[in-house]
């Protein structure tokens, strides 16, 4: 259902051979696809419209950087505009007020207020060394107050004792007093879920605000929300004046278009995101990541940047020279594996690849992780210098020794050797051709990724990157795009236990 936007756009632009400035017609066609992508990501229609208008303004007549396809150019403009609309800078929770600082959590039923309250409290207490008191003002849902109490015990944050029969406003006042007397830095008020058109309940929320004078009023909203997100955000903002948004269930496979909708209609920053059921699954909001997700594409640019930063220039040059001569030995492979670890391992790299988010979780579920890389490094380090240089020396008894020495099985050693063989074969082939690998490997790794490089990656890269994932890949699905930057042969993780 969701092909990536860049695929669609390049499809459109493939028919246009001319380069230079983007014509209005080109842009118009592309924007239809952008519009569709945004709508499928649940960005509200009005927001989509004003968004595409802004993009059109910027894109029409924009010079296409040489060696970048017009499609890529549009993707970049769209991406930049998304980030701009989502807010370029992270805005943290603001506690700059005389203690106890009151913080009020509001939102629809089931958006995750209580869980989020406990997560935020835990973080303030553990990371920011604040003394936090939590109070549940939810007198409506059965056992809601009990829920916060249990969570408080779990995370070691104090909760206001429950007194039956009090109204939410009374509880808010009692919480403020208790916080004052108890010397708390922060008092968090978890309110009942309410529908934004429920006037009496919205009035109750205003009364709570008046009683508690909260410094932060955070709207807790589900990242899976559809077109209604605008109505929700606008109503809550109009009624109580929210100071920020917490987006929950970002670990779902929704696209999170609600983030853009809510930010756009309220102008209030998204401050935090909930990324799981565990109490520590709360993160700061990074506009770029949500932007990529809304567009359905990974962050190729940051992958290239990261590759440029971490791959050792000298080693890369040497490896490239050796490669061209077909002298890629096991020590070189070990270097590659180590560099991959530096880049954040499989997970880190996968997370940045387009469309890889899903595969990342599948891989994690299948137990394919960085421990495989570690084991391969262990195998190599159990070899003698000569064995590393001439893998052909590895006979049965040597294999046994290495396996035993590194705590692996002989099959694992075989797999590694096979992977190395296939890689060096492939690299020899590629070495003869120009471009691709040599270019990437050849040490011309600029600090800033230049368009030429991006284009190389684009051409050879997505789907069939040279040297990326040769042979030994075993169970890895075909769709795994090659990994740009330094070849990263380490991704050829032997035969992962992928089928289960």
């Amino acid at each position: 259902m969701f092909e990536t936007l860049s695929d669609r756009l390049s499809g459109i632009f493939d028919t246009i051979t001319g380069r230079g400035a983007l014509s209005e017609k080109d842009v118009g066609e592309a924007l239809r696809e952008v519009r569709r992508a945004l709508l499928e990501a649940d960005v509200a229609l009005d927001v989509v419209k004003s968004f595409t208008d802004k993009v059109r303004e910027r894109a029409v007549g924009a010079e296409v950087v040489k060696a970048v396809k017009p499609g890529q150019m549009v993707v970049k403009i769209v991406h930049d505009q998304l980030v701009e609309m989502l807010g370029a800078e992270a805005v943290p929770v603001d506690l700059a007020a005389p203690p106890p600082v009151a913080m009020m959590m509001v939102g629809l039923q089931g958006s995750g207020k209580t869980t989020t309250t406990a997560k935020v409290a835990r973080r303030l207490q553990e990371r920011d060394r604040k003394k936090v008191l939590m109070a549940s003002l939810d007198t409506r849902r059965p056992a809601a107050q009990e829920q916060l109490k249990v969570l408080g015990e779990q995370v070691g944050v104090a909760t206001l004792p429950v007194v039956a029969g009090q109204t939410p406003v009374e509880i808010a006042r009692r919480a403020a007093n208790a916080a004052e007397l108890g010397g708390y830095d922060v008092v968090m008020l978890d309110t009942a879920g309410r529908t934004h058109i429920d006037e009496p309940l919205m009035a109750e929320m205003q009364a709570i605000k008046a009683a508690a004078d909260p410094h932060e009023i955070l709207l807790v909203a589900d990242a899976l929300t559809g077109q209604d997100a605008v109505n929700v955000a606008r109503s809550f903002d109009e009624k109580v004046g929210i100071t920020g948004i917490v987006l929950t269930r970002v670990d779902g496979d929704g696209r999170g278009g609600a983030a853009l909708s809510m930010r756009a209609v309220t102008g209030k920053p998204i401050k935090l995101i909930g990324t799981g059921e565990k109490m520590d699954a709360l993160e700061d909001f990074h506009p770029g990541r949500i932007a990529d997700r809304i567009l359905g594409m990974g962050d190729i640019v940051s992958l290239v940047e990261k590759a440029a930063e971490t791959i050792d220039q000298e080693k890369a040059k040497a490896a490239a020279r050796k490669l061209q001569k077909g002298e890629f030995d096991l020590s070189d492979l070990a270097d590659q594996l180590k560099q991959m670890q530096k880049m954040g391992g499989m997970g880190g790299i996968m997370g940045m690849m387009p469309g890889m988010g899903k595969m990342k979780t599948q891989m994690a579920a299948a137990g394919l992780d960085d421990s495989i890389v570690k084991r391969q490094l262990a195998i190599i380090s159990s070899m003698t210098k000569r064995e590393k240089q001439k893998p052909a020396l590895m006979n049965a008894s040597r294999k046994k020794r290495v396996a035993a020495g590194s705590g692996n099985k002989v099959q694992d050693v075989n797999r590694l050797l096979k992977m190395h063989r296939q890689m060096s074969d492939m690299m020899k082939k590629l070495g003869r051709k120009k471009g691709g690998l040599a270019g990437l490997f050849g040490g011309n790794m600029p600090a800033e990724p230049d368009p030429q490089m991006l284009e190389d990656i684009q051409k050879g890269g997505i789907g069939s990157l040279p040297g990326g994932l040769p042979g030994g890949m075993g169970g890895l699905p075909k769709g795994l795009p090659g990994l740009p930057g330094g070849g990263l042969p380490g991704a050829g993780i032997g035969k992962p236990k992928f089928k289960k």
Binding site: L45, L108, G110, Q147, T167, D253
Partner: protein
Amino acid sequence: MAEMDNETGEKAERKKGFFGRLLGEAEAGGEAAPAPEPEQAQAAKTTWLQRLTGGLSKSSNALTSGITDVFTKRRLDAETLQDLEDLLIQADLGVTTAAAITESLARDRYDKTITDEEVRAVLAAEVEKVLAPVARPLTIDTAYKPFVILVVGVNGTGKTTTIGKLAAKFRTEGRSVMLAAGDTFRAAAIEQLKIWGERTGSPVIAGDQGADAAGLAFDAMAQAKSAGSDILIIDTAGRLQNRSELMAELEKVIRVIGKHDERAPHAVLLTLDATTGQNALSQVDVFREKAGVTGLVMTKLDGTARGGILVAIAERTGLPVHYIGIGEGIDDLQPFAAQDFAAAIAGTAPGTGQ
């Protein structure tokens, strides 16, 4: 307790006359809600259809006025159709479904002048055409004793609340109901279900928080059998459908239930939050594949969300939609009626025909 009686009494009164389809006096005698229900709530509540359309009203008003804007003096040309498609998209129908409906609208009438009423009627008819086949009630097969209903869904979609309402409904039909507090993960989920059990006079089988959900389901099956309950409703922890380990846990719960009765669970209900956007499609797909969902309940239709994604789901899966949830009260669960839902989406006046 008195409070509770009061509350249900009021509600029953308020609702008398809904299409003659009333839950009647809900089981009283449950524990009191922790605090009195705000007085104001009563005034706001009227018949369910009014409430449904009230809930949908903002959206259908927007949609309706949008349609009026678009069509009053215009020909049905490409641009106009695009605008109509946009309006459907705003109801969360999704791009594909919105386009399909717009196309069928264009088929006979392209480039003709079309009035506002015509557009709405056609729109409602198209939506109803998709929804009518899925508007099927949940039938309890009395051959099974207990008839086992498993309730599944993403976190916060309203599983426990829906179970409470279902229990109330079955109890008023004179059936004996047992509830199993299978959400052993979320804090106080067990207490929440116990309160519903008290409210509806249904025994609740519960373990400790953190206990094995499958083990609990197994015990509940045994207890429901020996107690001779007509219906056993099993709650489960909310889970995102992309969390494979949690979906595997759910599969295990189902396997274990099957050890008592290989045809159980006899119904697997998926709760969908009306405010959810396109992700609801994925929720239905995955829960259907892993948990064998047999029917849907759409909750939280008392807000401005239209739940138009249901149209896309109906078109794609044909899964029955049994109920809609329109509030937090014990009797705020209503059978799904395609015509009313379609009317609410299209903005045709409900009850007055089309």
